[in-house]
Structures are given as structure tokens and as C-alpha cells.
Symmetry: C2
Subunit: 219 residues, 2 copies
DNA sequence: ATTTGTGAAGTGTTTCACAGCA
DNA sequence: TGCTGTGAAACACTTCACAAAT
């Protein structure tokens, strides 16, 4: 039924920007859900996210037909569909490498748990911190990484170490068998094709903001 | 001279993705500079950033003609040009609102200072932390925001408060007169057109990574 | 009347391919 | 030869606009 080319989900290659917006739709939908809203139109969703209504319909259309003409989208149904698509309806185990300032903040970040990520272990090279429990998570020596990843079925690794150490930590996570890496070190990392990576450079974010301001004022 | 359409910089509207890559070019170039490299080709730069050589040349071409045929780009010259373009050759003052886990990490983040950002003040609603000095930065009550922004010529505000408080903090920063806002709260913020904004949702980053992994494994 | 879902059109970005220079 | 700078072509993404559904 319908003109889906295959039984399983997203064969017709979906624009990457659309994929990235999916999380933002879910974030907005969950807020509507908390506020007791039952339906929402593409126009309203678009306004909340600074997108056009057509964009919202196209994006959601890549993943299924969730709306009702004349009515809009059911908030509850859309929340469920997006959670299923994004996998946040099931818990994934995550480990952290680097228990410095950023690492510590991430260990206590409520948003991770809310989205189905469970931080099951932290790692650091500093002997003075190994063995401690930070925000309820035990800090292991780096040598334990393979064992913990195996025993706890860790799917994702978060890198929060200084730039010079980042690539070797990345390699260690890949060898240990994680499927994805979230990198906060200010360094481009090389990973094999079967591992996905997402990098966030905090200072670059500020720099890009400053440049946007400059363009807005001069340009 | 040359075919620049005007005396001042970037009139011919530059693709936003190109603008965002500029910081990444600078990060890479600075590493080459540290390693003593004197020249680099578009191909080499591209490989380091997972871009094509043509992309690198196009991007840099939007801002000037920095290369030499047959040779490549002078690392030192390109570093200087990029720093000038991005404004990291001059210091900008920044303030932080929200001294929780993430806020604390940002106050001690070396990357900001290195890129010419100077954190001159922090703000929080919690009376127990106001008046303290965290990583060398004084924590003020929210009421002092307008005065500090004015007296210290603060250009950028960083938001690291819980989502429900984010919009009102954002409004306060705009009223105080900042030009740009970097938002870490998991919430879409509305700003007037003369203010630029850049948002980073840490949990969304992990969620997007998880989705990429899923697409790579199924799709 | 309102709103979805979606081909077609329009816009934006990347890649190609090559002239020109070192 | 090796490499840049850049129009032209290719590709990707967004917006338009309207038939179909309620």
C-alpha cells in the first residue's frame, strides 16, 4: 500500500538537512504535548522553528503520512512516530572519555537521559580521578574501555579530551566497537566508514556567531 | 583592482555553508602553522576536512585571492587573512548567563580565549552563587546585566540556563544590547532581526548521531 | 474552509573542467 | 608539471501551487 518503494523505512535518499531537523520537530512536539495540545498544523510547527509550512510537510513526508487534511497532525501520534524514528523510545548506552570541565557537565546533563541515552561509564588518564564516582558515574582507567564497552553493550562514545589526545581516543573507541562518536575536541577526527561521527566545537560556535554578526552589520 | 564589485568586503552574497566552514579552515590552518608547514594546497586542506579541493578553492575565493598557482596557499598568509575575516585578531567581550554544569565548563573553556573571546562576567538567579568567583569570573545577580553589558562593552551573550528560563534571559540580553547570542538551552529562541543567534542543543547532537548510525546500518 | 501530500518550479550549493599562471 | 580561480553544469534543497481529503 502507498507508493513506498520497499517494506523497510527510508530508501529514497532523504536530504541530510531534513534528517537533522527531525530532532527539532520532536523537541517542539514534546513541548506541545506537555502543554496538552492535541493537534498542530504544519504552519504552526513551522512558525515555532522558523521554517515554512511546506518545509515541515515535506520533511515529515519523507518518513510517512502522519497528518490529516483539514486537521493537521496529532501531537501524540507525531511524538510517537518521531520517537520511534529517532530511536529515543529505547535506551542506548553511552560512555564518556575525558572527565574535565566539559566531561563533568555532560555526566550530569539531564537532556541525555530524557532522550534515551544512559551514561554507563567514564574514562580518564588522570590517576587522581580514576576510581571516583562523578555525578553517579564511575571513572575507569582507559585500559578498561574495551571491557566496559563489551560488557555494557555501549553503542556511543563521547569524546571530551584535549585536541592532541582526541584521535587516539577516537581510535580506541572504534576498536572497542562503538557505532557512533560525539566529539567535543576541537579537531577533525578520522573514522572508518562503519562508524558515524558528529563533532561540536564550542569555540567555533562562538566564532561563527561573531562572523554572522559582522556580516549582518557590514554586508 | 581585481574584479571586486566594491571596496568593502563581501557584497556578492556568500553561501551560508561556506561562511560556516571558514572557522574550520582556520582551525586546520593553525594546526599546520604549529607544525611548521609553510604552504598547503586546496587538495590537502580538503582532505583534512573531508571536502573536495574545488570546494576549498570556491570557499576561499569568496573572500579574496589568497593562493598561488602551482604552489598553493601560504599557511601564514591564509592564517592572517582568516583571522582578520573572522575577527579573531581582536578581542570581544562575552558574558554568560547560567552558572550550572554547562556554564561552569564554559567559564573555564580555553578555546574561547584562544579565539579572542574574553568572558568578563557571569550571571545567575541563585543567591547562593551570586558574589562568588568561578574560574576567575565574578557571578552577578541578573539585575546587573544591563550595567555590566554597558560598562564592559559586552558584544555576545551565552545562555546556559534551563529551557523554561531561556527566552526571558534572551530578551534580557537583547534589551541590554548584545549583538549575538550563543544558546545552549534546548529551546528555539526568538530574537529581533538586528541580533544574531546560534544554538547548540547537546542532547540533539547525540540524537542526530544515533539517527545517522541507524540510517547507515539500515538504509 | 482548512490543511495535507506532492509533482513541478525555483533557488542555492557543489562539483566539473579548463584557461592561465608559476 | 602542479596548482589556483572561476564560469558552466550538475546536483541538492526549498518553495510553490494545487488536487485530494476532512
Amino acid at each position: 500500500m502507498s507508493r513506498n518503494p520497499a517494506a523497510r523505512e527510508p530508501l529514497p535518499s532523504i536530504p541530510l538537512p531534513a534528517v537533522k531537523r527531525l530532532s527539532l520537530y520532536l523537541r517542539e512536539i514534546e513541548e506541545l504535548l506537555d502543554h496538552g495540545r492535541t493537534t498542530v498544523s504544519s504552519k504552526q510547527l513551522g512558525q515555532a522553528l522558523s521554517l515554512t509550512d511546506a518545509q515541515v510537510r515535506k520533511d515529515l513526508g519523507y518518513f510517512g503520512q502522519f497528518g490529516q487534511p483539514g486537521i493537521g497532525y496529532s501531537v501524540a501520534q507525531l511524538a510517537a512516530e518521531l520517537r520511534r524514528l529517532l530511536g529515543s523510545d529505547q535506551v542506548s548506552n553511552v560512555c564518556l572519555v575525558g572527565v574535565g570541565n566539559i566531561g563533568r557537565a555532560l555526566l550530569d546533563h539531564a537532556g541525555f537521559r530524557r532522550k534515551g541515552f544512559h551514561l554507563v561509564g567514564a574514562f580518564d588518564v588522570s590517576e587522581s580521578i580514576v576510581g571516583q564516582s562523578v555525578h553517579g558515574v564511575t571513572v575507569h582507567p582507559m585500559a578498561d574501555l574495551p571491557r566496559v564497552v563489551r560488557e555494557q553493550a555501549v553503542r556511543f562514545g563521547v569524546i571530551a579530551v584535549p585536541a592532541p589526545a582526541a584521535q587516539s581516543v577516537c581510535d580506541a573507541l572504534v576498536r572497542a566497537g562503538v557505532s557512533g562518536i560525539l566529539n567535543f575536541a576541537p579537531k577533525r577526527l578520522q573514522v572508518p566508514p562503519h562508524v558515524s561521527i558528529n563533532s561540536v566545537d564550542l569555540a567555533v560556535q562562538l566564532e561563527q556567531l561573531a562572523f554572522q554578526v559582522m556580516l549582518a552589520q557590514r554586508g
